[in-house]
């Protein structure tokens, strides 16, 4: 760190994840948001992995504005993910926190550990040794229009209506077939997983992926079963017609980190 520390006088503490205390040293060379140094703040057998962040970015007011800045959001999200990924493999598991979980100071981090001790410990037990895999299925845009052989020019209004009816029927059947295929993919993967969570389908204009996103699933899988899960996803991908499957992972179990106590606390809002 240089003499002119970029942090203002009162750095806040960005909390990335909870691990077991004594899970091993933090990976060397791993840095946090804005290249901040990581430390583990430990209490009662748990540790919060934190780094200092500037209050000019992360205090409540500026943070709201910052989140509207896509470049900043991406930088922060990638830094968060890098830290959580870097911790993956720590003994006793890694419990990732939501983006931009920020405490005022180290005392706040310690209180956070104390107040949430039991639910953090229970979640670590539940998620230790598990990874999350993401599976998305898209309609292949090339297949979306069912090989529309240009119909003969309708000779009459009745002809026209008949043609339209047939076309709608074909589209309906194709859509139903796609839905069934997607359900079958999800059911098959769910049987190979300990848990599933469906995220809302991604809008094509956000993902840049061609074709409508029909499935955006997360699957919680034991690490030793990950290879088999990937092979299964590959097999399913190969069987699909008119649909495209993509697999991401292994992720830290973000989609399964919600803990029982969270709902109660959130309920107070």
């Amino acid at each position: 760190m240089s003499a002119t520390d970029p942090m203002t006088t009162a750095p806040l503490r960005y909390v990335y994840a909870i691990t077991r205390d004594g899970a091993g040293p933090l990976p060397g060379g791993l840095r946090g948001v804005d290249d901040g140094p990581l430390t583990a703040v430990a209490r009662d057998g748990l540790a919060a992995v934190v780094s200092p962040v500037a209050d000019r970015d992360f205090a409540e007011e500026p943070l709201r504005a910052r989140l509207e800045d896509l470049a900043w959001l991406e930088r922060t999200a990638r830094a968060h993910q890098r830290v959580v990924d870097g911790l993956t493999g720590a003994d006793g598991g890694v419990l990732p926190l939501r983006l931009a979980t920020v405490c005022r100071d180290e005392a706040g981090v310690l209180r956070l550990l104390a107040v949430n001790h039991d639910r953090f410990a229970a979640a670590l037990d539940r998620l230790d040794g598990r990874a999350e895999w993401g599976v998305k299925v898209y309609a292949d845009p090339a297949d979306a229009a069912p090989a529309a052989v240009p119909a003969a020019r309708p000779a009459s209004g009745r002809d026209y209506l008949r043609q339209r009816g047939r076309q709608r029927q074909a589209e309906g059947a194709a859509r139903q077939a796609a839905e069934e295929a997607v359900r079958s993919v999800h059911d098959t993967l769910a049987r190979a997983a300990e848990g599933t969570r469906l995220h809302p389908p991604q809008a094509a204009r956000l993902s840049g992926e061609p074709g409508q996103n029909l499935l955006n699933g997360a699957y919680l899988v034991r690490r030793e079963d990950s290879r088999a899960f990937c092979a299964l996803a590959g097999e399913l991908a190969g069987r699909l017609t008119g649909l495209r499957l993509s697999l991401t992972g292994p992720w830290a179990p973000y989609s399964f980190a919600a803990t029982a106590g969270a709902a109660e606390e959130a309920g107070s809002r």
Partner: protein, 75 residues
């Protein structure tokens, strides 16, 4: 441990064989996949211990930011 996971079209945040702490720079994951998890997943802490950010706000903000980035008018 050393076998690669199935090849493309798969993308991966990091490979199963990576040592803890390996920086997965080469395999870049889509921001939208990342935000699905970082904004809708992870443990949510709300209360006077932390600066509280309601998840509803985040998702809304996130989408607006992403949409404006795609349409090219972010600034």
């Amino acid at each position: 441990m050393n076998e690669p996971i199935p090849a493309a079209p798969y993308t991966s945040g990091y490979a199963p064989g990576d040592a803890p702490g390996a920086v997965p720079a080469a395999r870049r994951i889509a921001l939208v996949d990342l935000l699905d998890r970082l904004l809708a997943g992870g443990v949510v802490l709300v209360g006077n211990l932390t600066l509280s950010i309601a998840d509803v706000d985040l998702v809304r903000v996130d989408l607006r930011a992403l949409i404006s980035s795609v349409s090219g008018d972010i600034g």
